[in-house]
């Protein structure tokens, strides 16, 4: 037996090898758990909403204009909830897109490193504010204030929560798009300056096209967040399903409906109980599509440079 083999066979080293193998298995298990979580989400949403889809034709679910699951004349059309969700998220995007673009260009191209070091933590602080606090702010401060300027604004409305959602997703959108912009190679900037461009021209004709997939990803992911955000709309947009074209009115979003139903006593196994999983499934599918699109776009810009 060679010296090497003797060393390999020593109990001390063997114990070490066994521990290493066990730990590797445990680490793999914790990484694989994340896949299990996704699987569990899909499984729970599908199985718990099955009773709903066996009783309500999917065509009614998608086209009925009313959502009144607890009335005696029950209607199960998701359109009112969906339209309110899209209104709120759409208004959020109207706020977050221009502000986010300006802020990310400013942070990546204009601000000095020392300024950026101070500003980014402040943006992170904004992202850290609990959503229920934003809800309080929207309902009890901004809405009464905005009522003085916007005639016809109701106490619960889609406009103000939408704007607050836009501010909430701003730090997130800015941080992803700034990352993408900073990944654009310095040589492209230098070439742009060499052609005599101003910094603004450079930002809009070199940086934004260069970081386009990353910036787009930021907005897709931001939209997905706004769609799934719960507390602000549950508090400030009201809990009344309302298919409306006027954001000054209140309307329950998908998330607000789930919250409203969870507040009451939901008998397990009832049709009403399965409605929250049915609308949850729709919400999950929408956010999944946007998340995946965002993920692949982000990955593309990482590979591009």
């Amino acid at each position: 037996m060679s010296e090497y083999q003797a060393l390999q066979a020593s109990p001390f080293l063997r114990r070490g090898r066994i521990l290493a193998a066990v730990m590797q298995a445990l680490l793999f298990a914790s990484a694989a758990l994340s896949v299990l979580i996704t699987g569990a989400i899909v499984w729970v949403l599908v199985t718990e909403s099955l009773p709903f889809f066996t009783q309500v034709p999917i065509w009614d679910f998608l086209t009925d204009l009313q959502w009144t699951p607890v009335f005696t004349d029950a209607h199960y059309g998701i359109l009112p909830l969906l339209s309110a969700t899209l209104w709120a998220a759409g208004i959020a995007m109207l706020v977050a897109t221009p502000l986010g673009l300006i802020l990310s260009i400013y942070l990546s191209e204009f601000a000095r490193p020392s300024v950026r070091e101070v500003l980014k933590p402040i943006l992170e602080m904004l992202a850290a504010v609990p959503t229920v606090v934003f809800g309080y702010f929207a309902l009890l401060f901004l809405t009464p204030l905005a009522k003085q300027f916007i005639p016809g604004l109701e106490g619960f409305n889609l406009l103000i929560p939408g704007i607050v959602l836009g501010i909430m997703i701003l730090p997130y959108v800015v941080s992803i798009s700034e990352d993408a912009m900073r990944a654009v190679p310095m040589a492209l900037r230098e070439a742009a300056f060499g052609l005599g461009m101003s910094r603004v021209q450079m930002a809009f004709s070199v940086i934004i096209p260069g970081a386009f997939s990353g910036v787009t990803a930021a907005y897709l992911l931001g939209f997905s967040r706004a769609v799934g955000e719960t507390m602000v709309v549950a508090i400030a947009a009201g809990q009344n399903p309302n298919l409306t074209g006027d954001p000054r009115e209140g309307a329950a979003t998908i998330t607000a409906y789930i919250v409203q139903m969870s507040l009451g006593d939901l008998p397990h196994g009832s049709l009403v109980y399965s409605t929250i999983f049915a609308v949850g499934l729709v919400l999950f599918v929408i956010t999944l599509i946007f998340n995946l699109l965002g993920f692949f776009l982000r990955r593309r810009f990482r590979e591009a440079y």
Binding site: G16, R17, L19, A20, M23, Q24, L27, F28, A29, S30, A31, A32, S34, V35, I37, I41, V44, L45, T47, E48, I102, L103, Y106, A111, I122, L123, M125, L126, A128, V129, P130, T131, V132, V133, F134, G135, Y136, L140, F141, S198, R199, V200, R225, G228, T230, M231, A234, I235, T255, I258, V259, S262, L263, G280, F284, T287, F290, N291, L292, F295
Partner: protein, 310 residues
């Protein structure tokens, strides 16, 4: 001849000046947007402070919620939050660090790893209320655990798992590979390298991620509402430590609970203004907790960067 050159020079100067003005204008717009955004943050904090800070008193912290707004307090809420956070941290940190370590240091580049990565990034974007539905269908009814501290802690742990994983991976990526190589060079096996060299030097980064994750969890309301935990809680879970043997017990895990954001939401949804004051006071405490945690995390990261630089 020289006149022409002068003209050309003047034209160039005009062009240069125009471009400088462009940059100046955009810089000003950028700063204005920053001021507006920060102004909103300041207004939010100020509004909350004006409405609520006068309500915070020792009695507020040591009273149970009540029908009378003036006598109500957040005792069960802050104790509930503390206990739930203990469970969340105990689950999310080991699992998150383990998964991060595997993906960054062990995983081969193959389809399985790719799938896990896409999956983690997608989990980070799943709305928190969907985690609440998962917990309702799986923990509360599937496993019949009920609306307990354990279930609340578990659902928040799942929610922040992606944050801990991503932070761990970033921290690991920043560990210089020389450390790894020299540890292997002196004969350490893979786990020994991880445990004795890589993890200790990635610890500040991991800690930062864990704190940021927990500060997110502390303010989460939707998943806790969805599991049906919004009820009137005027009692405390059994104490985790006691003066008599066996000193430590885990009955508190199976106790019903409420948390700070739930208490705040409850008070916001009452019509009476007196309860809104309570909500604002709860908001001040909650905001204070999250900002403190985030401030600490930012400070840690700042110190870490300085250490790496020098």
């Amino acid at each position: 001849m020289s006149g022409e050159a002068d003209l050309e020079h003047a034209a160039t100067m005009r062009l240069v000046r125009a471009k400088r003005v462009q940059d100046l204008v955009f810089g000003v717009i950028g700063i204005l947007v920053l001021i507006v955004v920060m102004g909103l943050l300041v207004t939010l904090v100020a509004d909350l402070l004006i409405d609520g800070v006068g309500r915070i008193s020792p009695e507020f912290l040591t009273s149970f919620p009540s029908r009378r707004a003036a006598g109500a307090g957040v005792l069960s809420a802050w104790i509930g939050t503390t206990l739930v956070m203990l469970v969340t941290a105990a689950i999310a940190v080991p699992l998150g660090v383990g998964a991060g370590l595997y993906l960054e240091e062990y995983a081969a580049k193959n389809i399985l790893t790719d799938a896990i990565e896409i999956n983690v990034s997608n989990l980070a974007g799943v709305p928190s209320i969907i985690y609440g539905l998962l917990a309702l269908g799986f923990f509360v009814y599937g496993l019949n655990l009920g609306q307990t501290v354990l279930v609340g802690g578990m659902v928040l742990a799942l929610l922040i798992l992606p944050i801990v994983i991503v932070a761990t991976r970033e921290a690991l990526r920043a560990v210089p590979s020389g450390l790894r190589e020299s540890a292997y060079g002196i004969g350490a096996n893979r786990w020994q390298v991880m445990w004795s060299y890589i993890l200790p030097s990635a610890r500040p980064g991991i800690l930062t991620g864990a704190i940021v994750g927990l500060s997110r969890a502390i303010g989460e309301t939707a998943p806790i509402i969805t599991i049906g935990a919004l009820t009137y809680i005027a009692f405390l879970p059994p104490a985790p430590v006691s003066a008599t043997p066996p000193w430590i017990n885990f009955d508190w895990l199976n106790s019903p609970f409420t948390v700070m954001p739930i208490q705040m939401f409850n008070w916001i949804s009452r019509p009476q203004a007196a309860f809104h004051v309570n909500a604002a006071a709860t908001g001040v405490l909650l905001l204070g907790m999250t900002l403190l945690m985030n401030g600490f995390a930012i400070y840690l990261r700042y110190r870490l960067r300085r250490l790496v630089r020098t």
